[in-house]
Symmetry: C2
């Protein structure tokens, strides 16, 4: 990879300001804006700017990295496309946050059968359980934890319009979530990922979901208010932070009589 200092020195050798071209003819060439992107990413990960805060202006960043504004711009463009940054014309570029979001649940794709108003109405959350325990083998594997590591297990129910719709089992690495209790979960207003972000410094930036259809058994049917034998949508979500590190495994069961899971393809 072409290192940044190299590029700068090349730049200084051309004081007339014409782009000298940054690539040294080399194996595995990386464009300047990608290197800038990586540097910004590192600052985000290091917490140099907090979620919701503005990052320095493009001009400032260009000066800091000794590149043109256009190059910084392209780096920020990609980070904004990945929902890590938010651009607001006339105001600045801000670190994305789960706390002050236009939609309650950014990762929840459930939509009511009726009413085209996008997200379902306000949810009511009930936490049934929250305990620390040794990670089950499959959970440890998914979260990339050593066998038997401590995890926090949370069980909760999400209700819309007064009826239970989602039963979630959630596992979090214990060492990242010291002091997480059902009480703190219940008290916090706003999405759970907002709490994780502000209280534990863990930011979910990407997730993969595996969807299957399953039949409700006696252990879950009553919790969702359905009969055994009802079909439920099983949603297994693995959420990741910076560096694609997995930090949450979630197994959800969704009632899909009044709601559906919406997806867009292109």
């Amino acid at each position: 990879m072409t290192s940044l200092p190299q590029s700068s020195s090349v730049l200084e050798a051309h004081p007339e300001g014409v782009a000298p071209g940054v690539a040294v003819s080399s194996p595995s060439f990386s464009p300047l804006y990608q290197q800038i992107k990586t540097l910004i990413l590192k600052s985000l990960q290091a917490g140099e700017w907090r979620p919701g805060e503005a990052i320095p202006s493009e001009i400032d960043l260009a000066a800091r990295f000794k590149v043109s504004q256009g190059t910084v711009r392209k780096a920020i463009d990609e980070l904004a496309a990945e929902n890590l940054l938010m651009r607001r014309q006339g105001k600045g570029t801000f670190v994305a946050t789960h706390a002050e979001e236009r939609v309650q649940y950014r990762f929840l794709r459930l939509t009511p059968n009726q009413s085209a108003s996008g997200q379902p109405e306000v949810a009511k959350r009930v936490f049934l359980d929250c305990k620390r325990m040794p990670a089950p083998a499959d959970v440890a594997l998914a979260l990339n934890l050593p066998a038997g590591a401590t995890v926090v297990e949370v069980r909760r129910i999400l209700s819309f319009a007064g009826r239970p719709v989602i039963l979630d089992d959630i596992w979090l690495p214990g060492h990242l979530f010291e002091g997480l209790t059902a009480e703190r979960l219940s008290e916090y207003k706003g999405p759970m990922y907002g709490l994780f972000e502000s209280e534990f410094g863990v930011r979910m930036i990407r997730a993969e979901e595996k969807l299957r259809a399953v039949v409700a058994d006696e252990s879950v049917a009553p919790l969702l208010g359905v009969k055994s034998g009802t079909a439920l949508l099983s949603v297994e979500r693995l959420s990741r932070t910076y560096g694609d590190q997995p930090v949450e495994l979630r197994r959800g069961l969704y009632r899909t009589d009044d709601y559906y899971y919406r997806n867009e393809l292109s």
Copy 2:
């Protein structure tokens, strides 16, 4: 919207070549590259370039539209991001096609439980039915057709590894698919959307899916080789061409014992 001719005339008034700014202070301002994007889109829709073919080079397009290469570039960037065009460094920019694709089914999100090799192995297709009929009310509504318009109804089964996995019911506007028969569907090698594209000039560029969990009844269970009461993933897909016009409604039932529906969130 700022019209293109206006911009050009402004341009010509500044022969020194410095960007004069294109926007007239006006309500509903549209940037130049958006206008270029719209023009390219119109050419695509009109079939000026066929799927798989190269479009003119950025320099040629810049000359045609009397804008800078950078402006054309930004327009093409967005179209490529929407999977309407494919860029290939050193070769050119190509019209996206369903025919010569690296994956068999671009819109199919099914993945085997084992084997991380992405898409499922080669599919076997069996067409159970293909007939013209008056559109059911809900189908006509979804496809934006007048009540009672003719549609083509197709029923088919997709099998992987010798076992049936997907039962699809498909409806297509009759007037766009004259002469579509089960035989032509069976004969065609490659994805169905490739056939639609090359034989009927209909290109699917975007789709929305609604996912639900349902229980298999006696009418579908035998076709998928499962018992009645098994949970199946119901996938309703509405596919659209240019201008967001809906041109295909598809209701699929997926077995999700050996496969799952994969989705990425960010």
